[in-house]
């Protein structure tokens, strides 16, 4: 199940979830930054929890609920987290952005009113080379204050 839609695919055992999302399903929001679970550019939600898709075998994701960045907007309407990132200038090159937003989504669902420290701790697995993180943190905190 990807973004609420069921899929049935035949994949070889050695393919990772990241590869299958990008190649077979053409969902290219998740990126390969390092391939080793260190950068978080491949972050997707697996049963609502953030994971590195580069370290999940596609076959291990069988039967689970996968959410990618593409699953956040509905009928062309952006998700509040996406809106907040735009509003706060939290996007430069955009490479880390899908992973950042999904990590933020998981955080806000578990902790609707996080402290700055909790926000930063939730993002330790998402690297950004452009922004210095400040605007990303502010974007996420703005959602906490508005009671999301």
């Amino acid at each position: 199940m990807v973004n609420g839609e069921p899929f049935e695919l035949e994949v070889e055992a050695h393919r990772t979830l990241l590869e299958v999302l990008r190649n077979e399903l053409e969902l290219r929001g998740a990126k390969e930054g390092c391939g080793a679970g260190e950068c978080g550019a491949c972050t997707v939600l697996l049963n609502d929890e953030p994971v590195n898709a580069c370290l999940v075998l596609a076959l291990q994701a069988d039967g689970k609920r996968i959410t990618t960045i593409e699953g956040l907007s509905r009928e062309g309407e952006l998700h509040p987290i996406q809106e907040a990132f735009i509003r706060h200038g939290a996007i430069q090159c955009g490479f880390c952005t899908p992973g950042m937003i999904l990590s933020a989504k998981a955080l806000l669902e578990r902790t609707p009113n996080p402290t700055e420290r909790e926000v930063r701790e939730s993002l330790v697995g998402n690297f950004c080379r452009c922004t210095g993180y400040q605007k990303i943190v502010e974007a996420i905190l703005s959602l906490a204050k508005s009671g999301h």
Binding site: E12, A13, H14, R15, T16, E19, G35, A36, G37, E38, G40, T43, L46, E49, P50, V51, N52, C54, L55, V56, L57, L59, Q60, S103, A106, E121, S122, V124, G125, N126
Partner: protein, 295 residues
């Protein structure tokens, strides 16, 4: 980074698992969260022809209190441990330590069984489990063996696990009443790093807070395996609370370890940091505030 092809096997029971292990032996590896294994495979450090998926064995995941003892299934993730209300009193040390592993993404995949069987000398679950005096249950076709964790680690990446066995669960005995504890992990960054040096302390003091009672100290990343610093422990047990005993124990611990020089740090630095961290860990356990230390 692409993986090389392999056969993926899904056992539906432990018996199935043992059949696969028997059939494929060294050409098979078990996979749980894959956060260590898949990285090693991508780097071509190991190239198993068959991967046995442990995740369907959902009975191996979970945390249960049984009488006075805590049983943790091998497939319990670090995220499960971080969040569990069952890790109370001294057992909470384990929850605090796993919080320092990697990132939320890693912690949602990585398991306690994987951390132990990967047997890195820097494994973050090890020093806490050593001071909690945990046992591991190794399950094979002939039955289950219960082994003290101290005897489980044999060397870097090497454990007591036989080719036909799987680590089934970790058993934590009741911790000492009134136990005070700390886990300190020194790293090059504030997160997403392995320990340069790590220290777990679990101790008790008498009701007047004048002398040390039981003391357990474990060190990570400074020997071929995670170790207990038993000389340091003896130095403290029964001693009066005070700088002299604490510093004596810290110096003793620094002498008991066998660090190596590698790309992350020199042996000399690690040895010096054992002294610093053991002192700080004891102080923090006693409620004395220490400077920000590591991850």
């Amino acid at each position: 980074m692409r993986l090389k092809p392999f056969e993926f096997l899904n056992p539906s029971s432990l018996d199935d698992l043992f059949k696969f292990l028997d059939r494929y032996g060294r050409e098979a590896k078990c996979i749980a969260g894959g956060t260590d294994l898949l990285v090693q495979m991508k780097q071509r450090q190991i190239l198993p022809k068959h991967l046995i998926n442990l995740l369907p064995l959902s009975g191996l995941r979970g945390i249960e209190k049984e009488g006075e003892v805590l049983r943790i299934g091998a497939l319990t993730t670090h995220a499960d441990l971080e969040r569990s209300s069952k890790l109370e009193k001294g057992w909470k040390l384990l929850a605090l330590a796993v919080h320092k592993i990697g990132s939320p993404q890693i912690r949602h995949l990585g398991t306690i069984g994987g951390n132990l069987c990967n047997a890195s000398p820097s494994a973050d679950t090890a020093p806490p489990l050593l001071v909690l005096e945990a046992d591991v249950c190794l399950s094979g076709p002939g039955g289950v063996r219960r082994v003290p964790l101290e005897a489980f680690f044999k060397g870097p990446g090497q454990t007591e696990l036989r080719e036909d066995e799987v680590l089934k669960e970790v058993i934590l005995p009741k911790p000492p009443e009134g136990g005070l504890f700390t886990y300190l992990k020194l790293g090059r960054r504030k997160s997403m790093d392995l320990a340069l040096v790590s220290v777990a302390v679990l101790l008790t003091v008498d009701h007047k807070r004048e002398t040390f009672g039981q003391v357990r100290i474990a060190l990570g990343s400074v020997a071929p395996t995670p170790i207990r610093a038993k000389g340091a422990e003896k130095r403290l047990e029964g001693s009066l609370l005070g700088d002299e005993a604490v510093q004596g124990a810290a110096e003793m611990a620094a002498k008991e370890c066998h660090p190596i020089t590698d790309l992350r740090a020199s042996a000399e630095y690690r040895r010096e940091m054992v002294k610093v961290l053991v002192e700080r860990a004891i102080k923090q356990s006693l409620g004395i505030s220490i400077p920000p230390t590591g991850i």
